[in-house]
């Protein structure tokens, strides 16, 4: 069991800056995120899109913002638990016990939810019966590509994941690549490669087709795909891979006894605390009168929630407000020599 002053759920910009604020006032913290990388929506949804409303930063991309926030955390030692989703938050006296889907558990007086619009999960097929084949014949990510050797694999999607795997797997298996339109959103070089491999019959390409039906009992034997004019084709296949990007789902947060309205968590505007003492929500996931879903609002909310954490983490000490420009203690924490 890991003991920490505060546990942050979500490694997006708000979670990162909240960690900075906690460390600055002398508290320790750890961060859990379901994605395999730091940055949240900024890195997953719009790494290349410019943002124009970060105070004092006229223009930066989601990726640059994330890099800068990580840089700002450099003086501190913060443990990240990536590719882990918090499943359970339970009260234990005046502490919270938090458990992830990978079995990591924490005990902490403060839980800060900086979860954006929930956790990112792969978008799944919607055809009937897809559940019973999932993780067997239907996969949304690849852990061991060797299982496909000499088999027939049907890949759905038009982005980089779909195209990269189509190219890669065409080396030693039969690849069907199916996409709902003629244009692909993957990198041009990979798109060119796919067309080349289609010409040399290494990849069978079906555009303007979508999955219609799965055939088979214990495992998939074939699939029916349908085009825009309802023309159906049957393809023999051993595996079906779906790469439709990630969707955001509130997920387990809904089960923690919090007041939730339209996928957001209600908080006060003094501590950004929820209806549960010691659980806070900051950034896009929190809701209060006048809430703006801006990154700058998340920074403000995190700063206040961090101060509220101090009370529960150090019940016998008094929090004293200090400026980074003048405080010796803060400069020490930042590793800056003061004269």
């Amino acid at each position: 069991m890991i003991k920490t002053d505060a546990l942050i759920i979500g490694a997006g910009p708000t979670g990162l800056f909240t960690a900075h604020q906690l460390k600055l006032i002398g508290l320790d913290c750890e961060i859990v995120d379901n994605l395999d990388k730091i940055g949240g929506q900024c890195i997953e949804l719009y790494p290349d899109k410019p943002i124009y409303d970060i105070p004092a930063v006229p223009e930066c991309t989601g990726e640059e913002l994330t890099k800068n926030l990580i840089n700002q955390l450099k003086p501190f030692d913060i443990k990240f638990h990536l590719s882990e989703r918090v499943d359970e938050v339970k009260k234990d006296g005046d502490k919270w016990i938090v458990k992830t889907n990978k079995g990591t558990s924490f005990t902490t007086p403060n839980v800060i939810i900086a979860g954006g619009v929930g956790s990112f999960e792969p978008r799944k097929f919607s055809v009937e019966g897809h559940e019973k084949f999932e993780n067997k014949s239907i996969l949304y990510s690849i852990k061991d590509k060797n299982i496909f050797k000499d088999k027939t694999v049907s890949i759905f999607g038009g982005g980089d994941s779909a195209l990269d795997w189509a190219v890669e797997l065409s080396n030693n298996c039969n690849v069907n690549l199916i996409h709902r339109r003629d244009e692909f959103r993957g990198a041009q070089a990979t798109v060119d490669k796919v067309h080349e491999l289609t010409k040399s019959k290494k990849i069978d390409l079906f555009t303007k087709f979508q999955l219609k039906k799965l055939n088979g009992s214990s495992k998939i034997e074939s699939i029916d795909i349908e085009d825009n004019d309802k023309k159906v084709k049957n393809l023999k296949t051993d595996y079906v891979l779906g790469f439709f990007g990630l969707i955001m789902q509130l997920g387990p947060i809904a089960n923690w006894g919090l007041n939730i309205d339209k996928k957001t968590v209600e908080v006060d505007t003094e501590k950004f605390e929820t209806n549960q003492k010691g659980i806070y929500a900051v950034g896009d996931i929190c809701n209060y009168p006048g809430k703006l879903k801006l990154i700058l609002s998340g920074f403000h909310e995190g700063a206040l929630a961090a101060r509220a954490c101090f009370k529960l983490a150090r019940p016998n000490e008094k929090y004293r407000f200090e400026f980074t420009t003048s405080s010796k203690a803060i400069k020490n924490r930042l590793g800056i020599k003061s004269d």
């Binding site: 978008r123 339109r181 959103r185 955001m248």
Partner: protein
């Protein structure tokens, strides 16, 4: 101002007046019409305001924006007449527009 009809997957109809300049997504959200999530708030960074535009209207509204089809690839059951409702700007010309909502957004 335009009268816009949103039809839920279960057939429930909602007809509301939407001000010019707003998006079809905002028209739904501001009137608490279920079926449009709009998780990203209209920045074309998700596909949770997905609608099907009735065929006779599809060619009359503004064309898809660059990148919109990329997001629609990630929508739930996209079709030929799929659009992101955050990218359809309301004007007088859209009076009478009818959009169908998919079974779900995620």
């Amino acid at each position: 101002m335009a009268k816009i009809t949103y039809i839920e997957h279960n057939g429930t109809n909602h007809t509301v007046d939407v001000q010019n300049g707003l998006t079809v997504m905002e028209g739904a959200v501001q009137n608490n019409i279920p079926g449009i999530d709009a998780d990203c708030g209209g920045s074309m960074a998700c596909a949770t305001c997905h609608v099907y535009v009735k065929e006779d209207w599809f060619d009359k509204i503004n064309k898809k924006n660059e990148g919109e089809d990329d997001m629609l690839d990630q929508a739930f059951e996209p079709k030929k007449n799929s659009r992101l409702s955050c990218q359809i700007i309301v004007s007088d010309d859209l009076d009478g527009l009818v959009v169908d909502m998919p079974e779900k957004q995620t």
